[in-house]
């Protein structure tokens, strides 16, 4: 009987060879082929699955953020369109949207009386959310830049007041985002709300330890990163809507 060829030996290692019985019988009686098989077995046995590193933090979220704008809309038939739960949610959301637009008016500087207002409620909310995220970002950056090695307590009264103001608006914007089916914005506002509540309800004077805790919370959630990403998405949407609206002014 001829010796086994290399392909037979390699495939036999994986159990994929033709005539497995004959190969086994040959190996049992042929020292040279057995030695060759042993070399293959030892080498392949040393090639372990490659260690895969952990993907970056918030990998799923980042993947979705990058992917989302690249996904085209799926075209619907009329029946699918009518039955879609999203349509019903939108109807309910419109009511909240108007409430949020009203609230946005309270937090947003009023234009001069002479300006003719032709406002799209959704755009008003988007602009206000963008502004809200920017102001929240400034507050968080301020906290992150406070000296963590200071031995003295920090007067946090101003920051607390800002956090309270932002918290009220945050609640409305989050509800609005949920009802217009924008879970990405809703989720970031949810995370932001928790940190704002912590600041607003915390002590007015912070020890270095308190400060470190708040900073760690902001860092662990990558809150600033998420706010920047969502903020820039909101800005893009506003610009797109402005372009679509042509000369209409807010």
């Amino acid at each position: 009987m001829n010796h086994l060829n290399e392909e037979q030996i390699v495939l036999h290692y994986y159990g994929d060879a033709e005539k497995e019985e004959e190969i086994r019988a040959h190996l049992a009686q042929c020292q040279a082929c057995q030695a060759e098989f042993e070399r293959v077995r030892l080498l392949l046995g040393q090639i372990e699955p490659i260690d895969v590193p952990e993907p970056p933090t918030f990998f799923e979220e980042k993947t979705w953020l990058h992917l989302r704008d690249r996904l085209p809309e799926k075209r619907l038939g009329f029946r699918q369109w009518l039955m879609s739960p999203k349509r019903w949610a939108l109807a309910a959301g419109a009511v909240l949207l108007l409430a949020a637009a009203f609230a946005a008016g309270r937090f947003w500087p009023r234009p001069s009386q002479n300006t003719r207002l032709v406002a799209d409620p959704q755009r008003v909310v988007l602009v206000a959310v963008g502004d809200h995220l920017e102001r929240s970002q400034m507050l968080l950056v301020e906290i992150m830049n406070a000296d963590p090695n200071s031995r003295e307590t920090l007067d946090f009264t101003g920051e607390q007041q800002q956090a309270r103001d932002l918290l009220d608006a945050n609640h409305l914007y989050r509800l609005s985002a949920q009802h217009v089916d924008d879970p990405q914005v809703a989720r970031v506002l949810d995370d932001l709300g928790r940190v704002l509540a912590e600041i607003a309800n915390g002590p007015t004077e912070l020890s270095p330890g308190d400060l470190k805790e708040i900073r760690a919370r902001i860092q662990s959630q990558e809150l600033l990163f998420k706010i920047r990403v969502v903020g820039s998405e909101v800005d893009s949407k506003v610009h797109r809507q402005q372009a679509a609206a042509g000369n209409t002014r807010i």
Partner: protein, 204 residues
């Protein structure tokens, strides 16, 4: 009760684009692992994850709701990886890897096996791991994918053939050619016991 992948797919097909996020959240890590094993690079793997989901979304109408979404996605991921490796291979300069007596991985140099490795070159498995990445880079994209699927992921020859659109015999041949090339590259650095016994007249 958890919503099934098929139900989420149906929801996306009904026009709810945001529902696709759930599928991304459920499957992106496993796709990342597959892509990393085949490319050996984190950034490449991340890019392949994106491309896989994008392709899956565009082809969602072709997904059979009774099938397993994870398996379907895995096949797309392997194909995207194959395209990615092929594109990268064609971009690489032909002398990207140079043959050297004292190879410097930073310079893209590899050492070719000789038929009679001396004992000083029989290094331990840590060295082997280092060499493996270089040796895998010398495989064709199809060989690399076939080897990773068979050796590292335990996929069957039938599944490899299905994913690579090959007959079983061609899929086996891809695995074999990969192993053959890896042997040439790695045997000098592996600890394999007794020296090769000369044989003649191969084939049962």
């Amino acid at each position: 009760m958890e919503v099934t992948d098929a139900a989420v797919v149906a929801q996306v097909l009904a026009g709810d684009r945001e529902a696709f996020r759930l599928l991304v959240e459920r499957h992106s890590r496993s796709i990342f692992r597959v892509a990393y094993r085949m490319t050996g690079d984190q950034h490449d793997a991340e890019e392949i994850v994106q491309e896989t989901f994008l392709r899956a979304y565009r082809s969602l109408e072709r997904f059979e709701l009774r099938s397993n979404f994870g398996t379907w996605l895995y096949r797309i991921a392997v194909n995207r990886t194959l395209d990615f490796l092929s594109a990268r291979k064609s971009q690489m300069h032909t002398n990207r890897f140079q043959i050297a007596d004292n190879p410097d991985p930073e310079e893209g140099q590899v050492q070719l096996a000789t038929s009679s490795p001396g004992p000083d070159r029989l290094l331990l498995s840590a060295e082997l791991k280092k060499r493996l990445a270089q040796a895998l880079a010398l495989l064709t994209p199809a060989e690399r994918v076939a080897f990773t699927m068979r050796h590292m992921e335990g996929q069957s020859i039938e599944e490899i053939g299905r994913v690579l659109n090959l007959k079983a015999s061609a899929a086996k041949n891809s695995v074999f050619r990969a192993v053959q090339k890896l042997r040439q590259q790695l045997e000098p650095f592996a600890s394999l016991g007794p020296q090769r016994v000369p044989r003649s007249g191969a084939g049962v």
